[in-house]
Amino acid sequence: MSTHPENQTARALELLDNLKADMSPLKEYKHIGVKGPRRIDGLAKASGQADYTMDVQVPGMLYMRFLMSPYPHAKILKMDTGKAARLAGVRNVLRFDDPEVGKEEIIGKVAGFFGSDRPLSGVAHMEGELVGAAVTADSEAIAEEALALIEIDWEERPFMLDPVAASDPAAPLTFPERYIDGNHWNRGAYDELAHGDVKKGFAAADKVIEFKFSRTANTWVGPERPCGVWKWNGDCPEIWLKHQRVHLPKSRISQWFGGIPMNKIQIHSLYQGASFGGWCQVDWNLGPLWCAALVSKRTGRPVKYIFNRREDFFGGSMDEGVYFVKVGFNKDGSITAVEATLYQVNAIWPVFNPVLHLHDNTTIPHLKGQCKSIWVNKGHTVPTRCEMLPPVLTQTMIFDRVAAELGMDPIELALKNDGAMGHDMAWVNEEKKQRGFQVRDSLKECVEKGKAEFKWDESWHKPGARKLPNGRLHGVGFTWAHEWDDSCGSGEFAIRIERTDGTASLLATGADNGVDAENTYCQIAADEIGLRLEDVHYNPQQYVGFYRMTPDSSTNMSVNGWAVRHAARILKEKILESATGPTALTQRGGYQPAFPDTSPQDLDIQDSHIFLKSDPERRMSLADFVRMAGESGCFSTDEFLGVRTAWSEPLFASSYHVQYGAYNPVNPRPRFCRQAHFMEVEVDTETGEIFVTRIVNVNDVGKAINRMSCEGQQYGGSIMGVSRAKFEEVVHDPVTGVMLNGNLIDYKIATMQDLGPVSTILVETGMGYGPYGLIGVGEDIGTVVPGLMAPAVFNAIGVRIDDFPITPDKILKALGKI
């Protein structure tokens, strides 16, 4: 099948150009931007029919459980697994010192369950680490019982929990197998970020302030526990895996057992019981899968590994740590310099520098940020919720401090410093023009809408100045940031027109994460091809290859949206070419085209019908068009009987999109879309309780494709934000290093009763780099809103609380009540 050369060229350029506005959006939208398509996964999930990896049952399947370290830092000196192996129902005991367990290279660079040096380690670097042995048995309960029979002589080692204390050169080593010169992991690129000269900036400032704030760990725990199933079909593995990026494990698995061809690996990614970017994000998820693969080989039976609830608590988000900040600013509100250092806990991903957002969306001319990734004896921190948490939190804390110091409305301060990469809005607007965007002031539009909805001018007051009739102190907070969804990633999509009825199936393998991305892709495909929305379907659980980017905000629509659009446009060309040209030649001769004597340019598709543009009455449904070739399947009765109708080739197209986005240090893209958030609280000064009475979210999403999905993120992100600000923290016993609240009662996640009404406002400036000018919204609210509670509480009580979560004891202490 050939396509027109000029179209190929246009497509190729569009595929490669990530640096400017969408040059060929649709002229009108029928399904894009409409509110209300029913979720594709809604009925299955709401009815309980949806299948998750935890539900997978394979005939003959065994269950694998892992030994958990009772100590935060300890080495196995001697381990006797004899009693466990002899327990009835136990089929195998895999030991850390079994030769085939292997080293970290087997499962990837970031190996081991929690960064150990082996997939199944003999040394634990955190309490609860899965070490030593894996027991496989006829049931989960038997495996559990057998674990208790394993006898171990441990060498307990000193441990550290506090990152600042652990950074002391004299501190005991927390991970001597990996970090032999201290507990600081120097990772390079993301450690340092700077522009300008902060010394100059501080010297030029009217005032310089310094402060510190901290955030304890909050984790990813999801309803579905981590799990996976390994089954050998001969020498071909079939795998079910709870995982957010299933293409990564497949790639790793292809290197196992001396190499397994990719086309022999079948990997299923069913519905996901939530991971929030945590456990199933990265390679270290593969340790248990590797163990399951080994034991499946040993026993000849499928093996399912399962973690218990507590084992899903180990690890947290990347903003855990202690932040030291110095800010210089002038009386007019212009911030001249910021220097920030983050002592960040156990980052195994590149940490996003605390000043990154200030670089991305402010005029601040002098910036210096440093991340010190300190290893302590706790779990990893990964991009749980979002990797933007440290810079967003830093931005909120800085802007609110400076506004308070100046007695300035924080919105005015935000507008004063809005920019990009140290440049002012004049520079930013020129960039918009150069890149083909219309020039709009996103932050101004966001704050104006937000102020009106929130009634900001009547609500904002001096800190600690408003007592309500119910005796509580009233406070409001504001913060802002840029929108993101343009980091890096790649996505592939294919679309196939089904025979018989002409419906379209989107084909791509990817993880579900609940944001209704499925409908969003369908909306694009429907509008681009000219189909009714009900004629487009996407089943992401179907294993078809074509790996798409996870639908998280880091990169979903700005990658996957493009990939769907490219595929849809190619497919539309293909349909129209097929409709205008003979496409098959048999012994009886060639078939007449469905639209003889026309060319593809003469035709269009609307409402799943092909029609002649000059004579719309000449039309044929896509179903009729493909039915002639499809009703009999591969056996054509029509051809057999000599009935000359029409024929179409298989209507299928695929495409992809790749981007490096704003993280590209060589050719970064300025961020143009902004978000603004407003929170109102009441503080009970006798109990320290915070009541979140209102939240207003304004997000410039560029272009809303699936409006309900966008608003869903604004609601969900608000609850998540309040939850992290008020409640969520993983608590470790300071004496033993043992995690104390690894369950869903003691680790508190907010419910809908824990916050008041949430307003959702979408602004659409079209200044995103995604198709139609979109930019993401998914992670943004849940990332920005947690920090917003600090300004709101400060406005209420007039005292700073710089330690998250903001709990009643901290409020009462700040008020001098205890």
Partner: protein, 326 residues
Amino acid sequence: MKEFKHFNAYSIEEAVSLLGRYGERACIIAGGTDLLGKMKDAILPAYPEALVNIKTIPGLSYIKEDGGMLKIGALTVLSEIAHSEVVRSHWPALAQAACRTASPHIRDMGTIAGNLCQDIRCWYYRNQNNRFSCLRKKGGRCYAIKGDNRYHSIFGGSVSGGCLAVHPSDTAPALIALDAKIKTSGRTLDARDFFEVKPVKTTVLKADEIVTEIQVPEPAAGTTSAFLKFALRKSIDFPIVNCAAMITLKGDRVAAARICLNAVSVVPYRAAAAEQVVMGKSLDEAVAEEAGKAAVSEAKPLEHNKYMVAIARTLVKRSILACVGR
């Protein structure tokens, strides 16, 4: 979970007999909302060999007024108590306590007797796989004393003065404030005498003894009651502090007062000092404030739970005022 025997008891006698046979190796199961979590997490050194299911005993779920008192069957679920018009109108503290317990789903499963008999809340005691062999497990020490004790007793401990784990029941303080009695398979006890601190034990119940009924006396004329709870979350949460108060007024003076805090001590804490403060007085903000202070005058907070003292003081004050509609 490990395997265990499961017996459906069809009479109290049968349940008592089964419990007598297994002794401490058996547990009673009704709603199961506390027990199953404990078993899944294997928090205790020993795993129950048998569960005796008493949900199969007929006639233990009821709310009725009889002989000048409210009678509630042991198997009555919390949601029924929370929604009962009789309870809400005459014993509001109990209805409010039942309403604030746990979550709607758990209130539909959890029974009133189970809420009284539930195990202590302590994140050392309840840590998975019996990680901390503490005093309540016949172990060597209380790990909360030097550890993170933000949710522990502000009124000292027991079991040789060591254990600081709190009793978390929401309905217990309400029943104590309402001067309720607890009828078991063998006796009838004042609610205030029901709780006891011993290893792997929170009540005075013998191994083969079952709660069968809760009896709450008819309030005297001029009596009102109220229950308040402070928890981090608005739903699905145990109390940091809760408080129930019953006040009887003659004219504008307090003729009788019963105030009980919970989640602040190893057993429900009767705030006798606060009761003394309000007796004979006309209730206003100042008196209630004074009562709140008196209630926590004996508090001995730990390193991390001083805030609980402030909250307890406030809840005593507010529950008193709530009784008089303020």
